[in-house]
Structure formats: C-alpha cells, structure tokens
Subunit: 187 residues, 2 copies
Amino acid sequence: MDKKQLILDAALKLFVEYGFHNTPTSKIAKEAGVANGTLFYFYPTKDELVKALYIDIKSRMTACMYENIQTGSSLRDIMKQYYSSSLQWTLAHATEFRFVEQFNTSAYLKQIAAEEVKKHMQPAMDLISKGIKDKVLKPMDVDMLFTLIGGHTFGVNQYLVSKQFSKAKQTQVIEETFEMLWGMIKN
Amino acid sequence: MDKKQLILDAALKLFVEYGFHNTPTSKIAKEAGVANGTLFYFYPTKDELVKALYIDIKSRMTACMYENIQTGSSLRDIMKQYYSSSLQWTLAHATEFRFVEQFNTSAYLKQIAAEEVKKHMQPAMDLISKGIKDKVLKPMDVDMLFTLIGGHTFGVNQYLVSKQFSKAKQTQVIEETFEMLWGMIKN
DNA sequence: ACCTTTACTGACTGTTTAGTCAGTCGAACC
DNA sequence: GGTTCGACTGACTAAACAGTCAGTAAAGGT
C-alpha cells in the first residue's frame, strides 16, 4: 500500500466530514493507519497536505475528463462532452467535489499559484474563445460566457447531488439542461 | 457603541481575511476593541458567534432585498427585481457575501436548522412555483429551475465581483444576463 | 443608604494540536 | 558483513487557543 496515498484518502474523508479545522493531523494519521510522524515525513506541514490533496484531486479530474473527449466533432458536441463528463465526474466523486468546493471558498486558494488554477480552465476558455470568433456563440466577453456556463454547470451539479436519481434520469437531466444552456449561449 | 455589533463586525472582517480557523477569538476581541471576556459574555462559544453572524447577515440581506420589491408587476418583472437586487446587494456587500459563501460550504451549516435556511429561499421558491403553474415558465421540476436560476445568478455575481466595472456597466451586465436567463426559463 | 442587576474586564488555565526528533528496520549496494 | 539510505515510527514539546471566573463599576430600584 502506498502510504502517501492512504494519507490523502484519509484526509479527504475527514476534511469533508469535519472541515479543515476540527480535523487534527493525528486523526488523519490514525484513519490512514500510519504513524503520526509519517504524515509529516511526506507533507512537511498541514497546509502542504491540504494543497497536495487539492492538486491531486484536480489533476485526477482533469485526466479523467480528457479521456472522454473526442475532438473532431462540432463545437457544440465538444462542449456537450465537456459539460456531460464534468457533471458525471462530480456525481461519481461527490466527496472530492465537496472538498474542492470547501477549498475554493477558503483562504488556502490564495496560496496556490493562480497558474495552477488556470491550467485546468485553459482548454475550456480556448474552446469558448473559438466559439465566439467563429460566431457559433453569442458575441460577448469570454470571461462572462465562461462564468455563465460555469454557474449553470454548478447549479445543475448541486441539483443532481441533492437528489438521488437513477443513472438514466441523471443522463436525462444532463441532456435537458445542456439544451437549455446551449439555447442561451448559441448565436 | 454597541459592543455586540462591534464584535460581529470584527469577526466578519477577520473570518473573511483568515478563515474561521486562523482567527482566534482573542484577535476578534482586540479588533473590536473589547475585552476577551466580553466576547464570551455575548456569545457563549465561538461557534455561536459564527452562527449569530450568519443569521445577522442573512436577515439584513433579506430585509434589504424586500424593500426594493414592488409587487403587482408581472412575474417577469418581479423576478427581474429579485435578480437585480440580489446582485446589487452582493456587489455592495462583497465581504458579507464571501463570508456566507465560506459558511455554506463549511460544516457549520448543518448545525443551523434547515428551517432557518429555507426561510430565506421560500418566497423565491413560491414565485417559481407560481410561474410554472401559470405556464409563464417552462414546465419542469421546481427545484431544478430554482438551482438553474441560482447557478446563473451565482456565476454572474462572481463575474461582477472579479471585474471592477462602473455602476453603469454593472447595470448593463445585469440587464443583459437577465435577458439571457429569462430566455432560458420562459415558456 | 443599600441592594440587585447588567455590562464588562483581563489575567488565568486545561486542553488540544502542529510539528520534532532520536531512533528502528529492512533493503540494497559495496 | 558492514555501511549507507530511505521509509517509517511514536513519544514528546512548545505554542496557541477556547473558555472561565472573580471581580469592578455604573445604573436603577426600593
């Protein structure tokens, strides 16, 4: 067993359940089944652990999403694939999602280079830029379209997480809401 | 000076800057210009303080929003007023908004009765229900429409906060995005 | 004049917690 | 068979922190 990963897993579980504070490093170590010192052997401070967990989750999410994208389709279809797979990912990784959510609103975010955050959004930004330039999407500020799409996705995600739908119903909701979104942003 | 309020003000400022943890009660008291014990005289625990702050902000927000709503208009106009005044409020109270955001994703929320949270959403929910029943809005699950609208508003808000627009430009963005939202949800 | 209550103080304490460190253990290289 | 090295341990400590408490001071009642 990779103890480094076991610590991340335990931290994720406990952070989501109790929050960053209220989760002593000692409990994380115990949950992971390693000694207290081992945690600090791999992650010099608690903050470093939190940041490492964030980066780990983000990159696993990105990797997983890109697997499912087949380029060469129309912009509409590529966007739909992005939309769908990001929602599918959060549904399959609810705990991870809740951690990222908590992380984003905390003061930790400032400590991560803005670069690290941007890296994950860049492809989506490029896609939107292209859509506007090709007049497939409404002519507006790229950032604004991006946040509009982001907000929509965020809302639908919260909805799906709060309800306990079957796989089929989930897919249906995703289809339906994408049509609504597309109707709003297409030129 | 009302020391009870001074403590809330100080707590708000420090919580947003450093987060709940990393903000010792001693610093809050110092910032508020009161003795350490005074804080615990008014708020028996730190958790109680956090909850009191949340309720204080929420009710001030609700009060402020309802002032600006004139009933009797069409459903579309009422929704636009809600939309506009909630965005205006968060723009004018960025710190408060960031606190609420942080609070919502933390474990504290669970401690507040779900009732307290619902109380503030109820009027908006009712409005949407009515809109669906009257066939002014698309026939879909109320909760889903609600989260769609919420997500949209959340996104636009983030956009407005991140940019430093003039009052006029802000109003223009609000108008524009409402039209997009309305186009998406109207029947 | 005396009592009661309420707002407020700040020094103090018990506990919790992040982080340390001296040392164990097995593997791998010489 | 000895030496080095990286992974790992867990008892320990210094600091920080939430919450206490004995007491003050002023207002208001009787």
